[in-house]
Amino acid sequence: MSATLVANVVIAGVLTGLVYGLMALGLSVIFGVVRVVNFAHGEMMTIAMYAAVLLSGAFKLDPMLAALPVAAAFFCIGYALQAGLINPFITRPEHSQFILLVAVATILTNVLLMVFGPDARSVQTDYQLDSWELGQVIVDKARVYAALAALGTTAALFAFFRFSRTGTAIRACADNHFGALVTGLNVKHLYAFTFGLGAACVAIAGCMMTLLVEVSPTVGPSYTLLGFVIVIVGGLGSMPGALLGGVLIGVSEALAGLFIDPSAKSMFSFALLIVVLLFRPQGLLGRKA
């Protein structure tokens, strides 16, 4: 087990982790503002991946470019989903909301199964097998591009929340629902907007993910759970936490795959979830719920 091998694996883990982080970011933003636990998150990711695969197959569109229209479409769908379906459930008990999204997730996964069949698919790009060599370490180009896209999106999102009017309004809603209502903010619209943003994040993450792995209809639940692990480890409602959590999970998964057994990767993530839920449920960077 050479140091170079470990280094390669760790770097790959970090880069993949950034894409995981973007996906988890969407989940965190939705929960932090709308307080809805989006159990259908992984399914949304899967659909985005399929979209990228289809666009790549039909129009030879690079997933990085496809990310833009897919993100736009997902924003609209997310907005509609929140405004139309989820909004009445804000005041209902927690488990009702959860089960609503479990239902949505079940429908989505199996519709995908019906439409695309159980076989895996992937994109084909020119640079997928290329890599750079930094000394003895090998870095995959595709991974770097994906990670850069993830970082870029995160930065854009951060800037949006920090500097734009809508972003500030959304943060106000998150901090104080009632106060937001009283000051005349259109909370329903802002919630839907936020859900749309979360969905767009997932869309971009999904498109990037196709550069790294193949897609099949049943990967949805694993991504949902992965998203939860990351968000809970990094801190529910914390944006930097989502990225940090993503990187941590990406690296630990990669190392677990190297030292233990590739199929035991997710076992490690679940164990981590259990540990974090017990000892620090607000995560590394989160605020106490």
Binding site: R92, H95, V102, V104, T106, T109, N110, V111, M114, P217
Partner: protein
Amino acid sequence: MSARARALLVALAAVLLALPQFAGSYLLSVATLALYFAYTGQAWNVMMGFAGQLSLGHSLYVGLGAYAAAAVFTKFGIGPWAGAWVAIALCVAAGAAIGVLAFRFGISGVYFALLTIAFAEFTRIGFDHIGWLGGPGGLFLKVGQRSSWDLANLRGTPAMFYYVMLALTAGAFALCAALLKSRAGYYWQAIREDEEAARALGINTFRWKMFAVIISAAMTALAGVFFAFYYNNLFPEQIFNIGQSIEIILGPIVGGVGTLFGPVLGAALLTGLADALNNLVAAMGWDIPGVKQVFYGIVLLLVIMFLPNGIWPPLARRLGLGR
């Protein structure tokens, strides 16, 4: 129970007891499956409907119970009746572990649900790695002859399995009815409604929540034992799957969480309709996997949106019954 309710229950019991006489083997298998979900739904209902703890990882107990009984049968020749005790012990231990961890640390609601999912998933992948139990390739029981009843080893005709499942379901129903009227029932419902208020009335909520989890786990263990001896093959991917957990909760949610008859009604409806749907699709010549699950998802969606308390409460009112 009112006289009317009692009469209806007797009529239902009569129909269910006589079913194997006039139903073909296919219908019998569907009925057995419906009873299986009625039973597991009731077990889950104890935790959620009575005590208000949402578990989305109940497949853990089905799987552990199934593997425990199957393992002692195939490796040591111990029959299912004794094996059931091993299954119950294992599931009670697992449930207690989850309960202690969750409740001591104040985990509830969605976080609790996530914890149950994590445990089930962890176990699923774990069992893939237990070579001694067959790993991902599965654990197989020798399929015995199916012409006569061997109750001791649970080998026999479809009718035998039907009656075993019927007995389990009826037993669960009676148990839940008794629990609901007892101190446990009152305390659980108090905890479900408002845990802080319950504590202020002298209820040790930790102890009672643990009790609910343990009973639910023990009951579900028996479903696992049945599963092992009915299907004769166990795969971690299938039995610990989150889809299984979701199928378990469908009956109670559609029928009515927290009610006595809801889980039974919900399971019967869903299994029957899903089966009809499958036949319809097959008759049209389509071979599409996933139709049944989409159907389940849509039903779940519609119920949670428009009939959040399930189908049974309004139906019971219509029929002039109590719960």
